[in-house]
Symmetry: C2
Subunit: 355 residues, 2 copies
């Protein structure tokens, strides 16, 4: 059996003021089409049936996701009591899947990425499922980099690649690099962007969690033994609170031995910031991109997202402007990562209305 | 008798998106206090009684002004059927005043200026009234320039000044100059900003209009002979439509002989743009000014006017941001004159909701 685990617990605070606790990034229609999570579900359905899709999210977001994608059933959801990064999230899904099929392959997908070439994506996933299933390795999709991006992690491959799409073993993982390093990575030709998409057998990932994150594994066993009673929900919350915040990359992938990379040539982006939303938007002759009301005078290379109001931009260059119900963002394009700081500041001010 | 004629027919489109046809600049509270027109009325009341205040405006704005300043009576209003610049507006007020007192002195004041030192302003006006009354000259207030402003007209004085505040004859009027010229004017020491505030006897200004704008004078005589019947209103509209658009500066002041300037040392501004609103606002340590919700990150010398929404500004410098009911302006500070172009574009689009 093949399961798809879609991680949908984050807010995506770099997309403030559109992203909010009750309107996370994966529910946004950044390009005037479907919410990102709906696209994520739809493009995996030719590989997994909808019953085998598991959305890992929290209690606030689950009803919102249901509303955005009405075909989802309660059984499609796995609710984390609190967010603890990707390792616990993946572990939680893995123990749930193990109950149904200990030899199942699970595909782990972030809910909020963009993919251009969907048939190629599906071809890549199918080959990854084959390899993971036969070779019992941890597969990760590496994206051939097209620019010295400092906002992504990188993966260096060994030169043992074979097949199409290429599969090879992994030499090392690298965290988000400074620009000079990113440029070196790009030139070297053997570094890939870490897409955060994983494919593995459920028994294999749990074996690796047991080895490298034994404490987490113990908690997962406790959770596995819980029933569905209200008491169990309370116990789950108590257990989950004690779990450490750790990513699957740091906790498992960087240490495990049987890690393989498959090359993803399908046009990928994690749309990590307004800058990237701009980069992927259609532009007019002056390089301006827009969604909603706009009027540019003597302005170029700007991004306007304002579904409800006219935004007039006069004499500006390289600016991001986003209008929402109760807040407006005006941000220099090269500072779009710092939007996170706005959210952090609002959190410190406890400005709930704006979070 | 002394009359004050307050010209309040304009929209002040450089203050879009706050200024609108139904919310003109002089009704805005740009500094979180009273509307500009209320301040204009209040500061002239020690010189003229409220009965002798005449607001020249249009049918759309009159009820709005009444609401903003409830002590005004219908007799305080003079309604222009269409706007025809300052010469017809002043002529219309002059023939109305002549009916009551042909030797009255009239003070002409734009509704939307800012004055810092009100007692000094009143002292200046009182002396101007004396001189105008005794010498039958056309008085204009000149403001000693403090910077090479290119947004104002200039007046060059002769060196025959006398008294305090200084009164002197005028050598020449100069239109809004390019920067190099404005710098020369500032250095020369004998140029003043043209405040657009005038003081003269009503018989004198009408004599000058008769001489230099005889066609306008004929129309004014026709209007003077009209009664108050509904038929008269219709006739007034028909006459007014045929009047040429001409300013009092261009039509009379630049040509008349008995023009005198009185120096106005009371801290004056026509607040002609958002840039000037910024310049006159209190600033924080980073040079940011704001009215309403704001959150600055790594930003300086910005202006935010947003009574209803939080505006987060990230990595920006020298930007004006104004949030209104149905539109947002993001404008480079050095392009604040071009906000007018937004309004012109909206007019061509016939976007009434936004005008």
């Amino acid at each position: 059996m093949i399961y798809s685990v879609i991680m949908a617990g984050g807010v995506g605070s770099r997309f403030w003021p559109l992203s909010r606790r009750r309107n996370p990034k994966h529910l946004l229609s950044l390009f005037d089409d479907e919410p990102l999570i709906s696209e994520t579900i739809n493009r995996i359905l030719p590989v997994t049936s909808l019953e085998n899709v598991i959305i890992v999210t929290n209690g606030t977001q689950a009803p919102l996701i249901s509303k955005a994608y009405p075909a989802l059933q309660p059984s499609n959801f796995l609710i984390e009591p609190v967010g603890r990064n990707t390792a616990p999230c993946i572990g939680l899904a893995a123990v749930k899947i193990r109950k149904a099929d200990p030899e199942a392959v699970m595909i782990v997908l972030p809910a909020d990425h963009l993919i251009d070439d969907i048939p190629e994506f599906q071809r890549c996933i199918r080959r990854a499922v084959e390899v993971a299933s036969e070779e019992k390795c941890l597969m990760t999709i590496g994206i051939p980099p097209t620019r010295p991006e400092t906002g992504y992690g990188y993966i260096q491959r060994n030169s043992d690649s074979r097949g199409e799409p290429k599969v090879c073993t992994v030499k090392t993982f690298a965290e988000k690099p400074p620009l000079a390093t990113a440029e070196r990575f790009l030139e070297s030709g053997d570094f890939y962007w870490n897409s955060g998409i994983f494919i593995w057998r459920v028994d294999e990932i749990l074996r690796q969690i047991e080895e490298y994150l034994p404490e987490l594994y113990q908690r997962l066993l406790e959770i596995e033994s819980l029933g569905d009673s209200p008491q169990s929900v309370k116990t789950l919350r108590r257990i989950y609170r004690r779990i450490n915040n750790i990513s699957i990359d740091y906790g498992v992938m960087e240490r495990a031995e049987h890690v393989k990379l498959i090359e993803g040539n399908f046009g990928w982006s994690d749309v990590g910031s307004w800058e990237e939303a701009y980069r992927r938007s259609k532009k007019d002759n002056s390089g301006n991109a827009f969604l909603g009301g706009h009027l540019f005078i003597d302005s170029k290379n700007c991004y306007v997202n304002s579904p409800k109001k006219l935004v007039a931009v006069v004499g500006m260059e390289d600016v991001i402007i986003v209008e929402s119900r109760n807040a407006v963002l005006v941000c220099s394009r090269d500072k779009s990562q710092d939007v996170k700081q706005v959210v952090e500041k609002l959190e410190r001010m406890n400005a709930k209305r704006l979070l």
